[in-house]
């Protein structure tokens, strides 16, 4: 289009956009070479292998929870606050529930919910971002202001407010987290769409008589969702964390659901019973870490700029 002679001042919220901007078409072959030399297949990177193993393990644990958990996660045994022992490897909590069993069943909440949150946010943000980017003008401006508005509330406070307003429940927690997280995807997709809108392949298609809808479907969408999908994998870990945070504040899935964040909250009342908090925390840590490493690796694959572990 025009020759932009000055770089527009990027705003802080454009960060998400620039995080995963367009894959480079032209670069010196030297640089490309450097990039590819490090582009090992996923399975060749030990860190990735570890993370995939952890994730698969957690998925198996979630799937086979009834077989793995030694006890009913809700059963209140007589002995409360048992420290870790042979019978209760991770101890029992205030109500005498087996912490290991609760952890195992907790995987059935955290992991699928994170997926749902991210998928919904991606869907909502994706559609809006696509529409805004493609239609431009007023629609675009309105959407950008809306995302600004959401960004202007700190995520956890907004999620808290939404969740507090509608009462704690799994559905409301998911809703709250989707509300705070969709704008990132909208922005990323929008900026990707804006890039594609200036691409010659789209122009070429339109010149050949391809209609706007078909062009959207074939040229715009496939070339703009990539960055958002990468971002989504990176956000999976974040979703687990945010959900746990809401639960910790008592705004997540209702008790007695063995949600990990809520389990940590139980332990926070009495530090001397360290096992009540420590193990759920480790569970969150491993899952989030695995998600993050995997997201990183995936991004490396999709965007060669990030080859060899370059991130964000």
């Amino acid at each position: 289009m025009s020759e932009p002679t000055m770089t527009e001042p990027p705003t802080a919220v454009d960060l998400a956009d620039r995080r995963v901007r367009k894959p480079l078409a032209r670069r010196s072959w030297l640089r490309r070479l450097r990039g590819t030399s490090a582009g090992h297949p996923l399975w060749r990177q030990p860190l990735t292998v570890v993370s995939v193993t952890i994730l698969v393990a957690w998925l198996l644990i979630a799937a086979l929870a009834p077989l793995i958990a030694p006890y009913d996660p809700l059963a209140q045994h007589a002995a409360t606050y048992l420290p870790p022992s042979g019978a209760h490897p991770f101890g029992t909590d205030e109500l005498g529930r087996d912490i290991l069993s609760r952890l195992v069943y907790g995987a059935r909440l955290s992991i699928p919910l994170a997926l749902v949150i991210v998928a919904l946010a991606l869907a909502v943000g994706g559609v809006l971002g696509l529409v805004a980017g493609y239609l431009g003008r007023f629609v675009d401006e309105a959407l950008m202001r809306l995302t600004d508005l959401v960004f202007a509330f700190p995520q956890i406070i907004l999620a808290m407010a939404v969740s507090a307003a509608f009462g704690p429940s799994t559905r409301n927690a998911v809703l709250a987290l989707v509300i705070v997280s969709w704008p990132v995807y909208a922005r990323v997709i929008r900026s990707a769409v804006l890039t594609v809108r200036g691409e010659d392949y789209l122009h070429a298609a339109r010149l050949l008589g391809v209609g706007p809808i078909r062009a959207l479907r074939r040229d715009v969408v496939p070339n703009s969702v990539g960055p958002a999908v990468v971002l989504a994998t990176l956000e999976l870990g974040n979703a687990v964390l945010m959900l746990a945070a809401l639960s910790f504040l008592g705004l997540g899935p209702r008790p007695p659901a063995p949600e990990w964040g809520a389990m940590i909250a139980l332990g926070s009342h009495d530090l001397s019973k360290w096992w009540v908090s420590v193990f759920p925390g480790l569970a969150i840590l491993t899952v989030v870490l695995a998600f993050n490493i995997l997201g990183d690796a995936l991004r490396d694959r999709i965007d060669p700029r990030y080859a060899k572990g370059r991130e964000t």
């Binding site: 860190l47 700190p154 926070s268």
Partner: protein, 359 residues
């Protein structure tokens, strides 16, 4: 090839002289956007609070008072809750224009007074964390970028991923368990040990105020209370920063001008310290703005655990008490900080990158 030439063509210093109105226009536009944003915040907050079943009367009257319609009516009349919502809203806006944020139904004090008190407490946590995170994050991120692919880079990478993956509230509990419960070397929470009275308020930050008042023991005590929460918040922020700095620096390291700097015979120190840092700082500033915003929200949980009477606690209390004026006050403040930080980031950009200056 041609694209670069095209962009470069026909540009000479004379054509580029920044004109003063540019800055005015820029700031004017930003102020307009900010005002629009703040207006949006009031609308959303009003709407959100009114969707919720139950109102401030329920939250703020005693139970037996609720059984008395006369009392409830009096309360609603006093706080203007008996008016239609749009009238309440207009009334609020009118007061807002006069700088009146209303009175908190929870504390019975002007919201502004509450903010003046809670904000410094949060800043006392957030500012040191941010500074620490910036210094450490920039240094470590740069180191990792320069040592790209080597063992130290891998260690940094795993470390920052770990930092990103740790639930902050859990980390708070773990450090409390370690340093307070097991080792007994740190206080459990709060801003000041009980034996100290809060210092006379100047900045609202106990460390500073105590030092100003010459109460050194109290200042030292306040610093000790800061250590753990600041540590946790720094851990959170530094992980993001390291990742970002590292990739930004890597991007810069691949630029021709870095090679050109080496080709000129400059020592590594100069190349990294001047050329790399300068260019890598631009994206770092962006992310710092975001990081500061997320730091402010990260304090909610940390404040909760460390019993820190800051903005997060206030927000939490306002939200659960459906205290509309307070919620609005907090939301407006946060939005203002958000836009302010953004503006600051943009101005800093201009300061560092001449290409963006006053465009």
């Amino acid at each position: 090839m041609t694209a670069t030439t095209t962009a470069a063509a026909g540009t000479r210093p004379a054509a580029r002289r920044p004109r003063v109105p540019n800055l005015v226009r820029f700031l004017g536009k930003r102020v307009a956007i900010t005002i629009g944003l703040l207006w949006g915040v009031t609308v959303v907050t009003f709407a959100l609070v009114h969707v919720v079943p139950g109102d401030a009367a329920t939250a703020n009257l005693s139970e037996q008072a609720l059984n008395d319609p006369a009392v409830v009516a009096a309360y609603r009349a006093k706080w203007g809750l008996d008016q239609p919502i749009w009238q309440q809203y207009l009334h609020y806006l009118g007061n807002l224009l006069h700088g009146d944020l209303g009175t908190s139904q929870q504390t019975g004090r002007p919201v502004l007074t509450d903010l003046v008190q809670y904000v410094p407490a949060t800043l006392e946590l957030a500012v040191p964390s941010m500074i620490l995170a910036l210094v450490v994050g920039t240094a470590v991120g740069m180191l990792a970028a320069v040592r790209h692919g080597r063992a130290s880079d891998q260690v940094v990478r795993v470390g920052s991923l770990l930092g990103l993956s740790t639930p902050p509230f859990w980390l708070s509990l773990v450090v409390l368990y370690l340093f307070f419960y097991l080792l007994g070397v740190s206080p459990s929470g709060g801003r000041l040990s009980p034996q100290f009275a809060p210092p006379p308020s100047v900045t609202g930050m106990y460390t500073v105020d105590a030092a100003l008042a010459g109460q050194w023991a109290a200042a030292w005590d306040a610093v000790q209370h800061l250590v753990l929460p600041v540590l946790v918040l720094t851990c959170l922020t530094v992980a993001t920063l390291i990742r970002f700095v590292r990739s930004a620096m890597l991007e810069v390291l691949q630029q021709d001008y870095i090679r050109a700097a080496y080709a000129k015979g400059l020592p590594t120190r100069t190349v990294l310290g001047r050329h790399l840092l300068r260019a890598g700082l631009v994206p770092v500033i962006t992310v710092s703005g975001l990081a500061f915003a997320s730091l402010l929200s990260g304090t909610v949980l940390v404040e909760n655990i460390f019993g820190w009477p800051g903005l997060g606690q206030y927000a939490f209390r306002s939200a659960t008490g459906l205290d509309l004026p307070s919620i609005l006050g907090v939301s407006l403040f946060v939005a203002l900080v958000y836009t302010g930080v953004n503006l600051l980031v943009d101005l800093l950009y201009g300061l560092i990158d001449p290409r963006i200056r006053l465009s």
